[in-house]
Structure formats: structure tokens, C-alpha cells
Subunit: 289 residues, 2 copies
């Protein structure tokens, strides 16, 4: 169906069902290695990072509280609870969840693990790039779904050092307008930060982080924008043809790979990051649009 | 969710989306190696075997006709056509499809590849057992969804020769009543042969084959029966937890693995054959029951 040579990195098979396990584990472990033993791990997350922090906390024997916006898919909430974390709901806005997490951390003497604006989280996500380029060293392009930019930054840094010819392309939902800010090398988004109106719950944060933005400005030259319909189609194609369950954010990378925005060239090797597979099985992207 | 030690054989990732590619390729290749070059390959199939024969024929450069019962899922029909085969619909009964295939084969001087009653098909499916026991030599049990019995026979023969302690258990839909015939060492089914009323389109044939029956009588000591609801739940669990798309017949093996009919014992290693992943994405088992 596509002549393009695609190499998939299946983070839907990762612990907790998404790449977020990498950054969370690295951030908490790094803190422990420095001799800091927090009384509690706290995070705010639209879901996948929350599961990851809950899992990583349990792996390292620490109690954990996860703040999630009201309306988060049941399957994600259940998973967080199954990983042993306490779940706290907040108003569904970037500000609301940050305030709730800050309050809990200060009340419990806890350590907040930010979903992307943390160099140890960025480094953890970067291992995706290390592994992918270890398997396919001569990739020309890596397509990375972008939200706060932790994964994209991490992979871009890894790629830049391993194979500088490899170009990391960020894949965004409609309305994020990342290219505009990257080109201006300046944050062009309106404040306060908001969530995008997209089915891709994992990449609905409009603004990238303050630590990730300069890295992205340096290393990411192209942005591909995809619609919800394209993401849903991407998920469906992957389920039909590759028998893989991936969430809408992964469908975005598939959509970009199949789109004309990423041109076919004979021999061009394209990495596609399937960032996660946490779907509510009663409400699938292609049935929900 | 289960303490059981399960090893999955993911034939949903196999060429054509199911294990059937193995038997079809082996049967046609064996015929060619004997110096027979049929004018056409013909088969009748509820879908997966049809796709497999179409694919194998194209691999070997032979034209192909596939007879399928009316009502076969669109995704399977489209796949057969994409593999370059001609598609012919027949009345949806075991007799109807056999008659149509026989007629076409005699008109075209074609070679019929039977879905299971062919020793070369059985041998091809048996390679599943070879590969699985190569990876996990000390399996105690292998759970195999059964229809005509080609895959179950092939795996049972392989297991018997590699690790005679490994017990192959057939997993059937309600109404097949395989155990009764196996115990009597006699075909207890009523004729004419019929299809079972089950969501598992891949294992709806009630009677096992005439070549496979004696093998099954010899080598299969236990049958587990699962309901449509259990199969659907099995598919859903696999999609949620393992991010794998499997069809209802595979869900049957998962259901058996989780059921009390296969008891938990510490250290017991259980192989689970995920025989295929060809689902209509607009009508998923757990939404369709």
C-alpha cells in the first residue's frame, strides 16, 4: 500500500504500553542515584506519563500520586491504580493539573516528575533513538509524534550524535502550529497554555516545554501536521495490516509516513515511532470520529 | 491477571495474517517438487486458507481461484483479491463450497488444496510446533484452536516427536463435541457436515477431517470448550494488555489459557497458539456479541 521503506519502533509493546516508561524510570532512578529519597513521587499527566510514573515508582519502591484531568479514558485510570498509585482528578486544563500536583508535592514532601520538561526524562525518551539507530543505523528520517517535546528532543539529540544526516520530523495535530514557533525561534503560542481539540489524547498539549523548545529549535527542521481523520485511519491500517494496537498519537506517525508531506524516494529509510498502544477498546479511533 | 506462565505463538504476524500460509505453501511446493505443474490452484475456504493459497500461488507463479461462502468478512475477500486470486462465492455450507471447488478444478485442470485434509498441509502447519518447541523446549501444554484439525494434528505430531511429555489440548467452540468422538475413537457427528454457530469464523467447521481424525485420536487427550463470550473477552484482553490484534479463534486459545479448565500449577509452561489476526475492524468480537 506504500512503496516507502518504513521501520517501526513499537513502543506500544513497552512496559505500561507507551514510551513514557523510559523517561519516568530514568528520572526517578537518577534522583535516587544522587542520594535523594523523596517521600512520594507526584506527577500530572493525561494518562501515559501517569501510568509510567506509577509503574516506575513501584519498581523503585516509592509511593506515588498521579493527578489526571477529569475525562481521562477509564483504561488509563485503571492501569494507574493497578500500578499501585493514588489517583487524583483535577479540572481538565494544563494549569489545573499543574496546581493540583504542586499542592500535593508540597503537602507530602514529594518529588514531581514532569512529563517532558526534565532533562532526565528527555534522556530516558532518547533511548528510543539509540535503540532504533542501533538496529537501523542509516535511517534518513524519523517521524516522531510531538506533544511537550520530551520524546522528540531526546530522539533528536540521539540521532544528531549517532547519525547527523538522519532528520527528525515532528508530527503534530492540527492547531499546534509548531513550525511557526520553530521558524521564529520564539514561542508564538497564546497563553495560558491549552489543550488541542484532537482524538489523540497523548499529544493534545499545544505548547512544547521550556526545556525542550530550544532543543527542538536547534534540531528539528520539519513539522508534519495531520488531521484526526488521518490519525484514525493510521491506527486502523496498522490494526488491519500489522495486527498492532496503537493509540491515535501513534496513528499520527503512521499518517505522516503515508502522506505526501513525506515524499517517496527509492532507498529512503523512514523510522516511524509508534509511541503507545493504550486505547479504550470500547471506543476505537476509527469508530470515534 | 493470570499467574500462569504463557508463551504466545503469534501467527497473527504470519504472512497473510494467519498460520494458513504455512500449509498452503508447503502443499503447493511439494506438488511442484514432484514435477507436477497444475494449470491453476483451487481451494474452498472460509477465508484464511483462501488468502494463504492465493498468496502461496502468487509466490510460486501459479493462477488461483478461491471459493468462499457468501457472508465472508469483506476484509478477507479484499485480501484474497489483493493477492491476485479470482474469487467465487458459493452457498454457505460445507457441501456447497466443496462442490463449487470440485467443478472449477475439473473445468480448469486445477489442483485443489484442501484446508486440512492433506498431509502436506498438516506438515506445513506442524512447523508452528517445531518453532515453538525450538524456542521453549520444555512446554507442558500447547493450546490449539481446532477447526478441521490440520494445525492441531501437525503441532501434535511435532510435539510428540520433540517432547512427548508436552500435551496438545484442542480448543473448540461450543457445539463441536470433539471429545465425544475422540473418546469413542469414532466419528459421532451427524451428517451432512455443518458449520457451528460461532463468532469464530476461522473454527466454525464442526467435523474434523478424515485424515486428521486418526491423528487427533492418537495424540490429543484433552479438549477445552469455550463460549463466544469467552473468545471475545480473550481478544479484548489481548488487545488491551498485549496490543495485539487477534481474531476470535485466537481468542479461544487465550480464553482456554485463562480458564479453570487449564489449571494453574507453579512452573507449568503453557503455549498459546494465536492462530490469526484477520479481523474486520468495523466489527470487533467484543462489540459484536
Amino acid at each position: 500500500m506504500s512503496k516507502k521503506e518504513l521501520y517501526f519502533k513499537c513502543e506500544n509493546f513497552q512496559k505500561t504500553g507507551s514510551f513514557k516508561a523510559r523517561g519516568a524510570l530514568n528520572a526517578i532512578k537518577t534522583s535516587l542515584e544522587k542520594g535523594e529519597v523523596p517521600a512520594r513521587i507526584v506527577t500530572h499527566s493525561s494518562g501515559n506519563h501517569g501510568q509510567a510514573v506509577a509503574w516506575a515508582s513501584r519498581q523503585l519502591g516509592l509511593p506515588c500520586t498521579v493527578v489526571v484531568p477529569q475525562g481521562t479514558p477509564t483504561v488509563k485510570c485503571e492501569a494507574i491504580k493497578e500500578y499501585g498509585a493514588e489517583l487524583v482528578f483535577c479540572t481538565p486544563s494544563p494549569t489545573g493539573r499543574k496546581e493540583a500536583a504542586d499542592r500535593i508535592a508540597s503537602e507530602t514532601n514529594g518529588l514531581i516528575i514532569h512529563p517532558y520538561d526534565d532533562y532526565n526524562v528527555i534522556a530516558g525518551q532518547g533511548t528510543i533513538g539509540l535503540e532504533l539507530l542501533d538496529e537501523v543505523p542509516d535511517l534518513d528520517i524519523i517521524l516522531v509524534p510531538i506533544s511537550g517535546g520530551g520524546m522528540t528532543s531526546g530522539i533528536a539529540i540521539a540521532a544528531h550524535h549517532i547519525n547527523p544526516k538522519c532528520q527528525v520530523i515532528a508530527v503534530e495535530p492540527v492547531g499546534k502550529n509548531l513550525q511557526e514557533s520553530l521558524q521564529a525561534q520564539e514561542r508564538k503560542w497564546e497563553n495560558p497554555p491549552q489543550f488541542l481539540n484532537t482524538i489523540a489524547e497523548g499529544i493534545k498539549t499545544q505548547q512544547v516545554g521550556h526545556l525542550t523548545f530550544p532543543i527542538l529549535c536547534n534540531l528539528v527542521k520539519q513539522v508534519v501536521t495531520v488531521t484526526d481523520q488521518e490519525m484514525a485511519d493510521g491506527c486502523k491500517i496498522l490494526a488491519e495490516r500489522m495486527k498492532l494496537v496503537v493509540e491515535a498519537a501513534s496513528g499520527a506517525a503512521v499518517a505522516a509516513a503515508l502522506s505526501k508531506q513525506v515524499e517517496y524516494m527509492p532507498g529512503l529509510k523512514i523510522g516511524v515511532i509508534l509511541c503507545g498502544g493504550n486505547l479504550d477498546m470500547d471506543s476505537l479511533p476509527w469508530q470515534n470520529i
